[in-house]
């Protein structure tokens, strides 16, 4: 091979940004097939099933273990992809004097809502966060500059910032998933890396009560579509027009 041939090949394979991307998309025919039918991933959380085991943290622990989420001791540095909070503070506007007593001990699982109309995405000055074709709100940790505008824009407090190097605070590193570096924002990714492999999200898999249902809203026959058609469900702060993809079932 002479120098010219080499340049030609590198030119096609490794230089032109646009041409290379199209080449890659063409090359991976599997992905092409997928793009035809878009998914709308969503999650339903059943209060009645979740409340059965008091103090259960299986979903949280499994998620944080799989995704190398650090455990900071200082509350102000805390990073969380999925966590639980009191019903009153999550659904403050849905609380009245009676439910206050009734639901006093109900803790509600919170995670990124993967909004259909995400306020965090439009404020990002570098397109480091975006909605992918299946409706998942993604973060590119390679591109994030750490301005934290998305954190201010999120009405659900779903985003955490790496105030310090997280590595020393990860108990056990899962080598199949990258960690994050200091200075970037992170959050739940609806287990994008697992669902492309045909697996369920880590939290859904871990729940001993099957309180979490995950699936495609675009498929009327999926478990979650059927569930939401038959059970009464609420979303967090629906009045903000973000259209959350996490539903809570009574």
């Amino acid at each position: 091979m002479n120098r010219r041939d080499f340049l030609k090949i590198t030119g096609i394979l490794a230089i032109g940004a646009a041409s290379h991307q199209t080449a890659m998309i063409l090359l991976s025919s599997e992905v092409k097939g997928d793009q035809a039918k878009k998914k709308r991933w969503a999650m339903a959380i059943s209060f009645s099933a979740c409340v059965k085991r008091e103090g259960c943290r299986d979903c949280i622990d499994n998620c944080h273990l799989i995704h190398n989420v650090p455990e900071f001791t200082d509350n102000k540095d805390k990073i969380q992809w999925i966590w639980s909070s009191h019903y009153e503070s999550v659904f403050g506007e849905q609380t009245n004097m009676f439910t206050k007593g009734m639901l006093k001990n109900l803790s509600v699982l919170c995670l990124c809502n993967h909004c259909e109309n995400p306020p965090c995405v439009k404020v990002c000055p570098t397109k480091a966060t975006w909605k992918n074709k299946d409706g998942i709100i993604m973060i590119d940790y390679h591109r994030c500059i750490g301005c934290r505008y998305c954190m201010a824009a999120c009405p659900y407090d779903a985003r955490s910032f790496n105030w310090k190097d997280p590595k020393p605070f990860i108990k056990e590193i899962n080598r199949d998933f990258p960690t994050r570096a200091k200075g970037v924002v992170e959050k739940c990714n609806f287990c994008e890396e697992r669902i492309t492999q045909g697996l369920l999200p880590a939290c859904v898999e871990a729940c001993p009560e099957k309180a979490l249902t995950f699936g495609d809203l675009n498929d009327p026959e999926s478990d979650i579509s059927r569930l939401l058609k038959t059970r009464f469900s609420i979303q967090r702060k629906p009045h903000l027009g973000t259209d959350p993809k996490v539903f809570y079932l009574f």
Partner: protein
């Protein structure tokens, strides 16, 4: 021309050394922040913007306010502002530098700051803020320097300066409007989510910026014997008076709307700011201080035309402090408290954060001193 800035009295050099030392201390603190991360500041997962962004907001206002001396001179041919206009423009230059520095130190990964240019995102107000601030900086450097150069050489300023000046007037409005839009466009933060935010920012900018200019005029008179006409300062004081009255009116309009409509999500922020909650009342003195301060300053400005200079200086200083507290500190921190989970976290800046902030002030002060010294030295040599 600039060489004039490097000839001065011992006092002048001591002042430069003092500012440099402060800037250096800030820089060293910043190196530490780079090493450890923003975790060394008082910010955290709940109050995720703090002193840096607060100062950024305030200084965008100072930068924008140079328009109040530019506008009368160029649009209304108010020739008396001829001397002060250059001071206003150079104040804008150093303020814009300060705002850019505050944004930079607030970034988690500053080495990636160019991503804003590499992946331009017109849907983000932060992107637009970068565009308008950079543009404003260039406009002010070009206009300020070339018109000053023309004065030194006693020639007419270049023909293209005038169109640039006319562009710079709405541009000044735009920088503070875009800064307000950063906040007011967020449905997640009820305290910021008000259409009045941009007008409020402009009103308070036109009060605080010219107040800074008044104080600076007195300082350079005292230090360099450089006299700005009394009439000019009086005129600026009148501008401040009206801007303050509009600022106070906007504040009251905001408070009425929130309190009368009784919307819990909006009211809770004001309750926290003015009354506090059990266990967290730390913003009360600052909120009340800024509100009462604005009213006192307004009254002082109203009666000051009969009185001596010190009253004007005093009123100007109160105005600056009051608006720094209102637009900078309380607005930014208050926007985050209560959190979406109705918690009331505390935010106290750390010593590193303070040093970095002071360091940036000092850097701005250095630029301002050198630019002003150049102007003053030239004027005195004439």
């Amino acid at each position: 021309m600039i060489e004039k800035a490097f000839k001065g009295t011992i006092g002048y050099w001591l002042w430069l050394c003092f500012l440099s030392a402060l800037a250096l201390a800030g820089f060293i603190s910043y190196l530490r922040q780079l090493d450890i991360g923003l975790g060394i500041t008082g910010m955290g997962r709940d109050v995720s913007w703090g002193l840096y962004i607060a100062n950024f907001t305030f200084f965008v206002g100072i930068a924008a306010s140079s328009v109040v001396v530019v506008l009368p001179y160029y649009l209304h041919d108010y020739k008396k502002f001829g001397d002060i206009i250059i001071l206003g423009e150079f104040l804008a230059v150093s303020s814009v530098v300060v705002t850019i520095l505050f944004i930079l130190v607030d970034l988690g990964v500053p080495s990636r700051v160019l991503n804003v240019l590499i992946y331009p995102s017109p849907s983000s107000l932060l992107f637009w803020d970068m565009v308008v601030l950079t543009g404003y900086l260039i406009l002010n450097i070009v206009i300020g320097w070339w018109s000053f150069d023309a004065k030194v050489k006693e020639i007419e300023p270049p023909i293209w300066i005038k169109p640039l000046v006319y562009i710079s007037i709405p541009w000044a409005i735009s920088i503070h409007t875009v800064t307000a839009f950063i906040y007011s466009g967020l449905s997640a933060k009820p305290l910021w989510h008000t259409a009045l935010l941009a007008p409020r920012f402009l009103a308070s900018a036109f009060a605080s910026g010219p107040s800074v200019l008044i104080v600076l005029c007195f300082i350079i008179r005292r230090w360099f014997g450089f006299n700005i006409e009394r009439d000019v300062i009086k005129k600026i004081a009148i501008i401040v008076t009206y801007a303050l009255s509009i600022h106070i009116f906007f504040m009251l309009a905001e408070i009425y709307t929130v309190l009368y409509s009784d919307l819990p999500s909006h009211k809770s922020h004001f309750e926290f700011l003015f009354l506090g909650v059990p266990g967290n009342r730390f913003l009360i003195p600052w909120t009340w201080g800024s509100t009462v301060g604005a009213i006192i300053a307004f009254v002082l400005f109203l009666i000051s035309h009969k009185k001596n200079d010190s009253l004007v200086i005093f009123a100007s200083i109160i105005t600056v402090v009051s608006i720094w507290l209102e637009k900078g500190f309380c607005l930014i921190i208050g926007g985050f408290v209560p959190t979406p989970f109705e918690e009331y976290p505390k935010y106290v800046p750390t010593i590193f954060e303070l040093f970095i902030t002071l360091g940036i002030y000092a850097a701005g002060g250095l630029i301002l001193t050198i630019l002003y010294k150049t102007v003053v030295s030239f004027r005195q040599s004439k």
